[in-house]
Amino acid sequence: MSDPVVSVEGLSIDYVIGAGRFRAVSGVTLSVERGHVVGVVGETGCGKSTLAQAIPRLLPEPPATIGEGRILFQGQDLVQVPLWKMPRIRGTGINMIFQEPLNSLNPAFRIYDQLAEAIYIRRVREKSGAVTDPRAAQAYDYSRSQDPTASEALLRPVVPAGAAARVTRRAVERHGDLKPEVLEYLRLVRINDPETILDLYPHELSGGMRQRVMIAMALSEKPTLLIADEPTSALDVTIQAQVLTLMKELIEEVNTSILFISHDLGVIAETADELGVMYAGKLVEFGPVGELFEHPRHPYTKALLRAAPTRYKSQGPLSSIPGSVPNLSHPPSGCRFHPRCPLMKPNCRIAPGPGLETVRGGAANHTSACFYADAVEALP
């Protein structure tokens, strides 16, 4: 039954800055099944965005370094892929929606050019056989690719900016009229008069519109895996709801696998199939969303749910988690949550601490990193 699009195995990421060194992500194991939406939640600084950007090798290396672990994507370990080869995996293989819609569209290019570029890349790769539609069951195995394809030969040349712009224009035009497809994708993200925005620049659009364009851009490459890094948190609440609804609809329509990063439990509850909870660089609990919300098996998840002002939990006073987020250069020994944990026992302090284990009486893929997972239910 298991057909993961991407599986992260024991991944650790360090930041090395001068003499300082700290582990932003330590030993995270997580996989996204085909057609599933996996959410990752955690407080700011828990390493969830670092994880998201590490999968397509987007982190600046240095200062970031992948300490250990594997990122298996379609049979290939991305950690071993040299950085210069990553472009052929990004785009059609893995794509990403960023948090800040203003910053993630290039301010100097028109909407049409930015979208057409993405569609163009996908078409070149489709033509050269480098990708097939991810909606078809059989995905292309990148590791089997022998020769650098025409697309990469086209995209590699280093040319001055002005000339490059002209070359793409020409290349784009040569490749058939991209406009209908650009319009199609803009309509897909529910932009009503897409013709009117083609010649506009990103700053001339509202935040919500920009995020829609960003989503259209990511989807237009028909990626096998889409990583959404807090795609709605920079937006107003009303716009947030619209974009979220849109994303939910698109998930049904496009049938892409999605890794959804958020700090907002409400957003996750609405979109995700499975949910991972991160704390201080570690994955502390993973499981089906419904079960995890109803029967959390890690004290941190429980505390997080209690602290979240959402309509998805029972009434009662909001609570905060006592203590503070640990310092990642000197994390607590053993279980990293122990200084704040109501269930703390002496053995929680002893390294290496609890590992993720399947919980008793839950779904097969529900795991928790707590020695006393069974006692969590009894907590207030």
Binding site: Y15, P60, L328
Partner: protein
């Protein structure tokens, strides 16, 4: 300094920091300097060279016989000799040792350069503070600010070397004339730099708060604005020493400099030998002082450029996210690293529009 405390000191205790606090500040400064120097080997090289150069200049003023056996303009019996161990840069037709003349020129050039940049910094910086802090349109301060900036803009349109040359023509030759000629073209850069920084600092929350709390403007400027503006100004000053040296030497080369060999200034020295037509047959007479200028300017530029990378707010933010940010202790490193992680968590980098303002401190054209 410590003895002037007294009644005034106890009334406003925060004005006069205790000796311990001063010590701590010096310590912090030293730590910062070390962090900057470690960040880039070139900056360290520049720093070491600057220290050596300044020490040499001090020795040449106090005890020149330690470094050279000749006094100024003293001829040896070796005429027109090439470089050798005895005469590192060779000798000229009169038997004057070029190397010792270059050494004698060092304190002269450095002193003039420091005098010019120092006065330019104080005058230009003062005007910049005024123009930046009291710039509200419609007030007297606003009017003054506009006048200052207009005059500055006009001066800034002239390439400083060209204007300095023109002024030097009118003023004639001499140390003071030289200083005044260059100084007249040098101050406007500092006005623009300090004004830009002041405008940026002025809107920092704590300064707004101090204003709202009724603290007198003059006090805010002296205590808070100056301290914040200091960093970029020091960086620019370091780079500027080199630029002034090059300008001075060009003025000397054109023949408007000082009287070599009585005053051993490098540019005038080159001009003297160049005009004597010695460059093709005795290239060391020109290359010696030329190399001295090159190395001195390079030393100050390496230091200044490295300082700017770390201290300039425009590039500091960027460096925080790259490996160049270094630290003295693991604790500081982790702070930086966490900052970095926060940045990937919640990308709060400013939009490029904000950073697109014309750079005031990007550099003066090198003559």
């Amino acid at each position: 300094m410590g003895g002037t405390g007294g009644a005034a000191g106890s009334a406003t205790p925060e004005v006069r920091p205790s000796l311990a606090e001063r010590g701590r500040r010096v310590g912090r400064g030293a730590a910062l300097l070390w962090r900057v120097l470690r960040a880039n080997p070139l900056t360290l090289i520049g720093f070491v060279l600057v220290v050596v150069i300044v020490l040499t200049a001090i020795i040449m003023v106090t005890a020149p016989h330690l470094l050279t056996s000749y006094s100024v303009d003293q001829a040896s019996t070796d005429y027109s000799q090439g470089p050798s161990w005895k005469h590192l840069f060779g000798t000229d037709g009169n038997g004057i040792d070029i190397f010792s003349m270059v050494l004698y020129g060092l304190p002269v050039d450095l002193a003039i350069a420091f005098a010019i940049t120092g006065v330019a910094l104080l005058a230009g910086g003062g005007l910049g503070l005024v123009a930046g802090f009291w710039d509200k349109p419609g007030t007297a301060g606003g009017a003054v600010s506009v006048v200052i900036m207009r005059i500055t803009d006009i001066f800034l349109s002239f390439p400083s070397l060209i204007l300095a040359l023109a002024i030097a023509v009118s003023l004639g030759r001499g140390v003071w004339q030289l200083i005044v000629a260059v100084l007249l073209t040098w101050w406007p850069y500092y006005v623009r730099l300090v004004r830009g920084e002041t405008l940026a600092v002025k809107h920092l929350p704590y300064i707004m708060a101090a204003r709202a709390a009724g603290v007198k403007d003059g006090r805010i400027v002296l205590r808070h604005v100056v301290r914040n503006v200091l960093e970029p100004v020091v960086v620019y000053f370091t780079l500027d020493i080199g630029t002034v040296l090059v300008t001075l030497s060009t003025i000397g080369y054109v023949g408007l400099g000082l009287n070599y060999p009585t005053t051993p200034e490098w540019g005038s020295m080159i001009s003297y030998y160049q005009n004597a037509g010695l460059i093709t047959s005795y290239p060391w007479t020109v290359l010696g002082p030329g190399a001295a200028i090159f190395i001195t300017v390079l030393a100050f530029s390496l230091l200044g450029d490295g300082l700017r990378d770390v201290l300039d707010p425009r590039s500091r933010r960027v460096l925080a996210g790259s490996a160049s940010r270094s630290s003295t202790s693991p604790a500081e490193g982790e702070e930086a690293a966490e900052e970095m992680a926060q940045e990937t968590e919640a990308t709060e980098l400013p939009s490029p529009v904000a950073s697109a303002a014309p750079p005031a401190a990007e550099g003066r054209p090198v003559p």
